[in-house]
Subunit: 456 residues, 2 copies
Amino acid sequence: MVCTVPPFTPYKSPIQAFSVTKPSLAPPSGSRDFLPQEALFRERVFATVKSVFTAHGYAPFETPAFERLETLSGKYGEEGEKLIFKILKRGEKAATGEADLALRYDLTVPAMRLYAHRRNDLPRVVRRYQIGPVWRADRPGRGRFREFYQCDVDVFGSASPLADVDVLLALSRVLEVLGLKGFTIRLNSRQALRGLMSACGVPPVKHQAALIALDKYDKIGVDGVSAELRASDLPQRATKSLLNDLKSNNPEAALRARIESDDEGKAGLLAADNIASRVAPLLQGGMIRVDPILARGLDYYTGPIFEFIADDGADSIAGGGRYDNLASLFMKESVPVCGGSLGIERIIMLLQDQVGFEPAVGAVCYVTVWDEVDQGDALQLVAALRAEGVSAEVDLAGGKLSRQLKVADERGCRVVIVQGPDEKAAGEVTIKEMESGNQRRATKANAPSVVKELIK
Amino acid sequence: MVCTVPPFTPYKSPIQAFSVTKPSLAPPSGSRDFLPQEALFRERVFATVKSVFTAHGYAPFETPAFERLETLSGKYGEEGEKLIFKILKRGEKAATGEADLALRYDLTVPAMRLYAHRRNDLPRVVRRYQIGPVWRADRPGRGRFREFYQCDVDVFGSASPLADVDVLLALSRVLEVLGLKGFTIRLNSRQALRGLMSACGVPPVKHQAALIALDKYDKIGVDGVSAELRASDLPQRATKSLLNDLKSNNPEAALRARIESDDEGKAGLLAADNIASRVAPLLQGGMIRVDPILARGLDYYTGPIFEFIADDGADSIAGGGRYDNLASLFMKESVPVCGGSLGIERIIMLLQDQVGFEPAVGAVCYVTVWDEVDQGDALQLVAALRAEGVSAEVDLAGGKLSRQLKVADERGCRVVIVQGPDEKAAGEVTIKEMESGNQRRATKANAPSVVKELIK
């Protein structure tokens, strides 16, 4: 597996980078600045994600940072609604506090709005991706920000299970190429969950409460689920059935058997099994399993649903599923849609822990400047190096050669070029490799190709 | 010059893409959605810009979309102040209309804030770039948006003219590599302008009015400038001196002579000449000239100033200069800074006119699906192609082969692979080149390398 992010130990951890020294100069609460080293790391991750999505036939949708407030309202539930950043209407309305725009809360609703708006300009099946920031007026905390990136893929217009497979493979491939150490895809389906609820005799109005309780099984165990089920006032038979299954020797098998006693449930499991059987043989860095307990995104998803868990950290690093009904909020036509979202901020944190930072913020080759007269020569050499495809920069710090070498070293430049009076008299330059300390002479004309050879 | 944006005639112009069919589904006024074709074009431009900046030793700063309102206030003049998008303070203050945050108005002030905040973590000289959206509550119009991208480079901490040269070369190189057809850099300096004002006897309080009038010379001619100067109530001698110079056979030479009669003016011209002489021999797609009339960014810049004009369009496509005083708004220490900003939205429009779009939104290779049983084979083939570095996608549209071929064609896929019953019986696939219509058979195992050869 090729990892595009080279290994290194960070000289600044993301946590330090977030510390506040002068409040008025710090970024606003819950947002972050990134200095070059970390910004480069993030850019490289995003570039890798894009290249994988592109290799899978996905192409970008871009939508504005803000939407009409009415576009976002009523889409994210009561809790979500409170977290929408509202923007004051400009002009005379500012004094009244009237807001007409809002920062996007996720990338899914804006993409759906765009799809509905431009339906006639789009082919029947659209694979789209989007990587960008979203904003939530949440209480900031470790790993929880008010501005953070999301990274989505969606397939609009295909009801085929191959579309679900396509999304899972694209997301998996990103994690593999980024070099993340192992992940598990948990896969289930809304049909299977409805089947389970029917088979246990949970009335529709109680589905959500029962599923929320079940979904916590991995974290709070059977006793925790038991307490939650009892608190949510289900019919006694339903609670008993669910707990019996969870307490059995093989809870998954027991739940599967119960689900399969319901026609819709059986069909749902079959769909999930079918998707898993397509995906499994193509995974290289992870595994997939059908998990009849997984119950994410209750009021949103309509078909297969999934979640990616990192082996290292046990955190959810991606999730998604089929949501064929969201379109109906924006258009009359019904549109089959499935998609997923990478928790890219969490993935970046895991990568920084597992793989590390790339420290170099400077060009590969650093060209020193001997004196003012020498500036033109230095600039010409830099241009010649760039023409050979070598990134190169000229010293701007000034001062003695030893100081210029120190700057080159700090910037992680691999090669430094010196043109002193001796070299100049001979029409040559000295080429110094920073890691080994080796240095050699070359003619000015030859210098770019010598450097190119050295850094290969 | 390698152009990373391949030629094509757009199927949707950016203007059509901005048309409004259903108001409630359109993006908010002054903002834009981008469908894949245009989004890909923009991404490629941004990627090219980044690669050039990186090759020149620049590294990214990233700052949040919003800043504290107080960070932005008082930085952009009276007009700018009105255009700042304010965000409602969350929680109980929402009802009163109190705003504590605002969307960034440019990338320069946030970068300065970040530099001041993290000064101790940064080396003495910092080359930074940033590409990202900024927001202005402006009246939208053709080419004027409320959300648009800017693209900045700055050198913090170097007072050397080499830093100004460095910025000019980085910006020029972007235009050259993007393949923009010709540009002229107009270069001047604030010292030269102050010298001109002194030599003409313009009192300091009238400098700005006189310079604004002069700056319009290229657009409104000598009569226009004359009217503006007279309207701004300068001392009679000053108006006469300026108009005499403008009406002479060689206005530039006359202005230069007058400027050089002042010590500060002379030093300013020398500095500009020095920078131009360093930059000129290294330009490949443009030219540079010292223009004693250029007077941009009056209350902001302190040293050399510049503007890039596209030969095709006569529009300003970049500008910048030295602004050593902005730092003092954020920190006690004075910091020499110079930088420039590409008008990247205007550059993208020029490129779309001059160079055109890249239409393909699909993968290079399209793998058709014969029937449901065949899905696994198709997915395996797609995986094998990607392993060879060929971007590949599997059909999700379904239906007859002819329809799948049509989809592949619309997506700009270059090669289509068919595995029908005949092929399957022979353990082979048919590989069809879309442009020529040529097709050939290959074994399943050989197919990826055959495709790789075809698309070379």
